[in-house]
């Protein structure tokens, strides 16, 4: 049984201009101890997918489908039950640690609160555990630093505090939504290394959401590529990078400038990111796709297997033509 099984997940938002479909028919599963990366650009729906899963959508959003965690359905559970799951089983860290941490409360209180509330520890025990968790995320002088306020930490440090807080209850799944996008590249390297080490020590699964193909390359086992709310391609990270079988994935890979490569020109994907207000019939990528034919703009492609390796893609055009 997989740790997490998502089937037919759909997320919609009611706006004054009509209903916007942010996520459309997403299916994937995640095993214990594995890292899944969700990759996409703006409007891809990658963040809304996990918000929908964990009940964090805005008030005008609704999620349908099925999300099974450890075999039990968690989609649209009442808030009380979700709160329990959120700290103890599924933890989340976000892009901007400043808005995730309460600026008026000391870090010590924010951390001990989690342990006292969810695990019934005493104040002193909770403090001891919090300090040792700060050590685990490599914050120096943790017993003194823990008494500081969030704004007294640097960006990278705050993100470490965020990670420490999320791991306090030893969750089985950590969802990281663009955790390093706002950080300098050297700090990013530190944080990603930290996450990799923690993953080995604590054995949790990770869903890593990112638009950065470099970060995803070194830090994931499996990868899901989204565009306009739908899955374009899903499979092992190594296969997707070596042989991207979907035109969008291929386009992304070619469009990214590489430090170790000296090409003259970057290959671009023509056109603009999708307009979520106007849902498309057929494949949402077809307006920008160089391989698109008539079927593509009229019929929505379904995820189909590429080879025996749990590698799927949603495309009408034959694989041989794309590779």
């Amino acid at each position: 049984m997989s740790l997490l099984e998502v089937s037919n997940l759909k997320v919609e938002f009611k706006t004054t201009d009509g209903i916007v479909s942010a996520v459309n028919n997403v299916n994937f599963s995640l095993e214990e101890g594995k890292i899944l990366a969700i990759v996409g650009e703006s409007g891809s729906g990658k963040s809304q997918t996990v918000f929908g899963m964990t009940g964090l959508l805005d008030h005008n959003g609704s999620a349908t489908g099925s999300v099974k965690f450890e075999g039990e359905e968690i989609l649209n559970l009442p808030n009380q039950k979700l709160n329990q799951i959120r700290a103890e089983k599924i933890a989340m860290i976000f892009q901007d640690p400043m808005t995730s941490l309460n600026p008026y409360v000391r870090v010590s209180n924010q951390m001990t609160e989690v342990l006292i509330h969810h695990q019934g520890l005493s104040k002193s025990d909770a403090l001891k555990q919090s300090i040792s968790m700060l050590d685990a995320v490599r914050i120096p002088d943790s017993s003194n630093r823990i008494r500081m306020y969030p704004h007294e930490f640097s960006g990278g440090m705050r993100q470490r505090v965020m990670i420490a807080m999320s791991l306090l209850c030893r969750p089985k799944l950590l969802v990281a939504d663009e955790p390093t996008t706002a950080l300098d590249v050297t700090v990013q390297a530190q944080i990603m290394q930290l996450l990799a080490d923690l993953q080995k020590d604590f054995g949790m699964s990770i869903i890593l959401i990112s638009h950065d193909l470099g970060v995803v390359a070194g830090n994931s086992d499996e990868m899901l590529v989204m565009y306009s709310g739908e899955i374009m391609e899903i499979g092992k990270t190594e296969s997707l990078y070596a042989k991207p079988t979907h035109p969008y994935t291929q386009g992304l890979m070619s469009a990214v400038p590489r430090l170790n490569d000296s090409e003259e020109r970057l290959t671009t994907i023509p056109g603009n990111p999708p307009n979520m207000m106007k849902p498309s019939e057929g494949c949402p990528f077809s307006p920008r796709c160089n391989f698109a034919n008539d079927t593509c703009s009229n019929v929505s492609p379904i995820l189909s297997k590429v080879n025996k390796d749990d590698h799927y893609r949603a495309c009408h055009v034959a694989t041989e033509e794309i590779l």
């Binding site: 070619s254 290959t267 023509p270 056109g271 307006p287 160089n290």
Partner: protein
Amino acid sequence: MIVVNKNKIKDMAENLYESGAGRSLWKDARIRFIQNKAATISLFILLAIVSFSFIGPYFAVWNYEQIDWNAMGSAARVGMPSIESGHFFGTDDLGRDIYSRVIQGTQISLMVGVLGATVAVIVGTLYGATSGYLGGKTDQIMMRIVDILMSIPYMFVLILLLVVFGRSIGMLFIGIGLLSWLDMSRIVRGQTLNLKNKEFIEAAKVTGVSDFKIITRHIVPNLLGIVAVYATLLVPGIILAESFISFLGLGVQEPSTSWGALISEGAGTISYDTEWQLLFPLAFFVVSLFCFYFIGDGLRDALDPKER
């Protein structure tokens, strides 16, 4: 290998847009404003009241200072609102026609409100924009002057001015005008500070656009939104101030009248069974103020850039 398709870009662009005028932010705001029912209805009501004050006199039988000797002194018995007597809104204790006096009051109150607000807006905007754009010590000094003026008890000074220099519409204007621009200047300065650091201002400076052109072409148009909102909210404020002054008996001179004066008179005779003397001017006063507030609110929502 992907081949870049230049024609695809052209096609896509053509499909997305037809030629023609763009959807400016004002148009967007207008659409949002119209969608706000309370604001649109208020706008119509206000326009109705304004047209009433222009057209109403053509239907009046009595003018605002004529005395109906029949009703004088016996307003409770004879001065009731009626179509036959020509006193559509009834008479006051002196036998004067309330219908015409309400029209007169509407004209005066609205004029004081709108003109006063206009002066406050112009002075406040120029002062605030200059202070904000120049920054530094000049800004500090200019704002400290505003702070000092704001700490003066408004009503007290106004009453003092009117008592010392005599009651007249002119004095009323000066008194109200002197102090109502202060809020506006603070708001405009804040907005200017906000705009000053925006990248499009930087872009204009790097291009070499002169300071004057930056203020007129880049800063002021982006201020108009917030100025319009606060201007609509200034009008009721000024009307209220004038009404309070008139209620105290220090406002417009007889036989001219304003809503405040009428309400004052009407309130005074309320125990004598002549409710219409209070109700009509009060109704116009309250409805107009509500309309201004709803419109101001509607404007604020319509012009809020985050609402995109």
